[in-house]
């Protein structure tokens, strides 16, 4: 990954994180809040691969944890795993599939919601299953709406040509 792409990637993650915590988190549609950061992260991971996805997820999660003065590392852990899984999906099954962004966003939104609930519960913080899991379904819908526009924008910003995990060499067995 070239330094310019890395810088743009960092910028996208930073701006996405800041907008998520400051502007978008207060918007409620259909009882849920759209998670622009998660959609950005899934797109980054699909475009740049699992490693970039995991690092971007960790950084974005850390910004969210810091900015919201929450449990440090909690969102970072979740977004690290989300970025990694989205990247692996993009490198394997979802490679060059047109529906990959949509499918990845829907699946990871659901898994993210459930994992966040489980992790919060395991940490001993009071959390209502109904309050935590009920917004997952409308959240999936909202994030699905964002999936293609965000993916297009992210691909233009940080695409940079080839994927990290695409075959870049040919080995012939003789």
């Amino acid at each position: 990954m070239s330094p310019s792409v890395a810088a743009r990637l960092a910028g996208v993650v930073f701006v996405g994180s800041i907008f998520q915590v400051s502007a978008i988190s207060s918007v409620r549609v259909l009882g849920a809040t759209p998670d622009l950061l998660l959609v950005v992260l899934v797109s980054v991971a699909l475009v740049r691969g699992a490693l970039a996805g995991a690092i971007a997820g960790f950084a974005a999660g850390l910004i969210v944890d810091v900015a919201t003065l929450g449990t440090l590392g909690l969102v970072a852990l979740l977004l690290t795993l989300a970025g990694y899984w989205a990247g692996r999906y993009g490198e394997t099954t979802g490679r060059d599939r047109a529906y990959a962004p949509l499918l990845a966003v829907i699946a990871i939104t659901a898994l993210y919601g459930i994992a966040a609930y489980v992790l919060t519960f395991m940490l001993g913080e009071p959390v209502s299953a109904r309050g935590a899991l009920l917004p997952v379904l409308p959240g999936m819908l909202l994030n699905a709406v964002l999936a293609y526009p965000v993916h297009t924008a992210v691909r233009r910003l940080v695409g940079g040509g080839e994927r990290t995990q695409r075959a870049r060499e040919v080995e012939l067995l003789v």
Binding site: I18, A67, L172
Partner: protein, 303 residues
Amino acid sequence: MLGVSVRRPAAGRFPSRSTTALRRRVVVGALVVLALVLITFSFRQSEDGPVASAQGAAASALRPFEIAAERVAQPFRDAYAWVDSLFAARSDAKRLKEENDQLRQRVIQNQFAVRENARLRGLLDFRDGPAYPRDYQGLGASVIARPAGAFAQAIVVAVGAKDGVAVNAPVVTEDGLVGLVTRVTSSTARVTLLTDEQLAVSALDVNSNAAGVVRHGRASAATLILDRVPKEAIVEVGDTVVTAGWRSSKLASLYPKGIPIGKVTSVGQTDTDPYKQVQVTPFASLSALDAVLVLVRKAESLP
């Protein structure tokens, strides 16, 4: 293929797949461990520990960016809030309309209850008053139906045989005589009104004591006539007509004596008719009855 020269990649320029996978796993594992360490520190340290202090400092550093992002997003949020308020206004209008309908129904019910209360209070006053026949028991009853059709001068009330109501029981309101029970079921009774053609009541002019029979008027369904009044009897406009309540050795009037029926509104006579033509307007508003008293003769007063 043997004999074919293959250009191999320069060592170290592209990492092999296994190396890449290993590096990826190591980095992700390290990030996960780091996140877990941060969580652990975040939980174990107090509010003024180094991790919390670092978090606070970083949050302060991020604050200007958050404010900037908030300002950038504010117009979009305002636009969204405006659209959302439109939907909310529509739903509010719908909810308020439903509430308004419910309240209107409640107001109508309250008005009806107030009117019914006044009627029942009037009936109670009448029952305790001097005009009430002492050898009768009054059963208060709501009017539950009015047979359809202009020719059916009757009502259905919500008392019946199980309440002690029998056929030919007089029915009154606090204003005066209404009619007679002509059909009884276990819980309801049909009351034929004074304005029905089949009903006739022996009556007296209170002032002159002139006797006659009150029955339906020919002019309109709402008026009555006092028939069979001799020409020599004195009846004047404004006189009050009450039930005669006669009793012979074997027979007795169906109606108790002295129940107000109506007021004389016109008196006339012709050479060809042996009786006066006396028109009476009933005291009871027979077209707007809500509650009535069915008079049931007390057991000790039965002949």
